[in-house]
Structure formats: C-alpha cells, structure tokens
Symmetry: C2
C-alpha cells in the first residue's frame, strides 16, 4: 500500500486567483505582471506551502497582493492539462474572490504591478489564465443569480442604484429599475439607512446595508430561484 505511494510521480501545485472588483462603473479583474521578463499579464498566483490547505494558500496569496483578509473566496476549478505550464507540469487550483475595491489599498500593488482590467477588455494572459477568467465569470453570473454574493463587491453602505449598476455590469445588461428594486427588497435582506448618498446625484439615493443575521441564514434560495436544499434532508 505504502509502496504504491512511492511509485507515484509528484507534481507542482499552484494557486491562481481571479479577483473581481467593482468600481461603480464596470466589473474588473485584478491582474499582475509576470512571465519571462515580467512582460505578460497574468492572474495573481503562488505555490502551495507544505502546511497550508488550498483555501489557506489562496487566502495568503490574496493577502500578499492586496493586504485584505476576510474576503469572499471560493474554489473555482483545478486546471491540470499536462502542458498548461510549458516549463514544468503544474496543477493549478483556481479560486475566485470578490473584493471591495474601496478597501483595497493600492500601496501593495506596486510590488506586483497590479492593475484592474475591465472584464470586457482583457489583455492576452499567461498560460490558461484566460480560460480561468472565462470560467470565473460564468460562475459569478451563475452564482449571483441565486446567492447574495453581489454585496461582497460593494462597500458596507450602498445604494440601490449602485447595486443595480453592479448587476447590470455582471450580466452586461440593463435591468428595469422598478422590477430590480422590488425583487431585491423583497428578499428582506437589506436594511434602509437614514443617510443619503451625497455628491453623485442631486436628489441623493438612500444607503442600505445588508442585514447580517439574514445574510448568514440565506446561503441558498436568495432570489427564489432554487429551493433551499439545506432543508430538504
């Protein structure tokens, strides 16, 4: 049994992060310079360390770039085509994360030459990173339709028009604002604050924040798409 292990060839194991952000206008992905002469844009990545879980490694790598902790992080997919990395065969486990751009101190980015790119206008990427971004975008769309994860991309306090702009950006469409706010508010997940947003529009939109208690409960069944499978069994 143990001999069976010894005969096996080991592989390098990397992690790559698709980091989504929303700046109020469009959906962005954070990329860094990498490659032979630092000439190619790539996803932020790193190597798995001996005492780390995959999730811990992904969180560490995200922290090294952004200085952020407590960030939404979800495993996307393991990529393992034999020649995806032409130098040495490397399996990469991709994670996607949603960060609040406002929280992101850009000071740390310089070491990595990080930059936000619009998801609709990406440069050529290293290895199979374009596939990773494409899959991550699919997953984000899929997930945001059913789970309240959009809020992870917004500041603590946000307005309904901001939220709508975010969803517009994610789905590259233009939702009807009446139907949108009815649907969002019907989840009971938002708490209206007394404060209004200043500066952007003359009238000013009310700020809302997520009801943390309800947010914790609603992992599934957000927008009535899917029955809450937690309670089926």
């Amino acid at each position: 049994m143990v001999e069976q292990y010894k005969q096996q060839r080991p592989y390098l194991l990397a992690l790559d992060s698709i980091i989504f952000g929303f700046d109020g206008e469009g959906l962005r992905v954070l990329l860094v310079k990498r490659g032979i002469e630092g000439s190619t844009w790539s996803l932020m990545g790193g190597w798995l360390q001996p005492e780390e879980s995959l999730e811990q490694a992904a969180a560490r790598i995200l922290f090294e770039l952004t200085g952020l902790t407590n960030v939404y992080l979800e495993q996307l997919h393991a990529f393992g085509d034999p020649y995806r990395d032409p130098i040495v065969r490397t399996i990469s486990v991709a994670y996607f994360s949603l960060v609040k751009v406002a929280d992101y101190e850009s000071n740390l980015s310089e070491a990595f030459q990080a930059r936000w790119f619009s998801i609709y206008d990406l440069p050529t990427l290293l290895f199979d990173h374009a596939d990773m971004v494409e899959l991550a975008l699919k997953r984000l769309r899929y997930k945001a339709a059913q789970h309240p994860i959009g809020f992870e991309l917004l500041p603590e306090k946000f307005t309904i028009p901001q939220l709508k702009k975010l969803y517009d950006a994610i789905y590259n469409t233009d939702f009807d604002k009446r139907n949108f706010s009815r649907k969002i508010l019907s989840t009971g997940l938002l708490i209206k604050l007394d404060e209004k947003q200043k500066g952007f529009s003359k009238k000013g939109a009310y700020y809302y924040q997520v009801d943390a208690v309800k947010y914790g409960q609603l992992t599934n069944s957000f927008l009535n798409f899917i029955p809450n499978t937690d309670t089926i069994l």
Copy 2:
C-alpha cells in the same frame, strides 16, 4: 524564474470519483474496498499520470472500475488539507459522475470489490471521502434543479414515473405527479415514444427519450430557474 520552480515542493495528485447511480428505487453511490487491509470502504480513486489531463485521468479511473465510457463526469472540488491522507500529503481532485446502472457490467467490479450503497446509508469512509460524497450530493441537487442531468442516470428509454422516482430520490421528497409531469414536459426536452413499459404496472407507462438536439442546446435554463447566461454576452 525557472529557479523559482525548482525551489517548490511537489505533491502527489490523486483523483477520486463519486459515482452516482439510480436503480429505480433509490440514489446510490458506488464504493470500493481500500485501506490498509482492504478493510475500509472508499471512493474509487487513482493517481494522475504524467501525460493525462485531470479529466482524462478521472475518465480512465472510471473506466477501469466500470468499463464505461461516455459517462457524465464533472469536476467537483480539489481537496488538499495537509493531513487528509495521513501517509503522504496528497491533493485529491474529486469528480462526480452519473452512470446508468443498467449499462454497468458488474463483472469488473469484483477486482475492486465494488458495491452500490444508498446515499442515506453509507458506511464509514476513508480519509475525507465522506465530505466528498456530501459535497457531491449537494452539487447534484443543486444542478439537477436547473440542468437536465437527471437523464444521465436513466436508461435511454424511461417513463415519466421513473423520472419522478429519480427526482424523489435525489431530493428525498415526493413531488406531485401532475405538477411534475407538467413541468418536465413543458421543457420540450422529451420525445414520447409509442412503446409502453411492460411488466411493472398493468396499464403500462409510455416511454420517453431525450431530444438530443434540444438537449445539446439547453445547458442552462432547464427548468426556467436561471436565465441562459450563454446568451447574455
């Protein structure tokens, strides 16, 4: 750059398969005997070979056990806790697959001591395999609510009552047969055959089969849960 690769420690990379089947009564998982003295039930698994992609490896391992090809196979999750395998650190990429039990020749199972278990009555499993099964079941439920993957568990020709029993088993519930058949037929995905099932009931239920053309188109938006994101961009 290349030196950076050399400093990294490699890890063993395994694959494990959660193989679901449906025998007309309940949802089953195929398990094999493994462990120190072949004493423990475990998922079917194997090692990644140098020239294989992850998907190819998972398909090969599935073939070695069941003799089946062209089986529904989907990557579930990469499991990489440092001590999940107490002997040597091993990253396992879990795949879940849906097989038609009728197709499965049980001849090959003997080499692996394979057996179908009800998902509601599993034995103690090796390592973190119980977590894998749990996650796979969640994914199956999640997915079957939106995508027409249930058919992968049934023979080519099946009746509506059979399909309902399958969904009942997946969600451990009892759907209303009128609403169920209305909903399923409204997808336009099923073709009614002239033939009736014999032997099971006196009246006999009509056989249906999946419309292959429409099946290819409908990857999302099966039961109207999710807008078809393929067409959004």
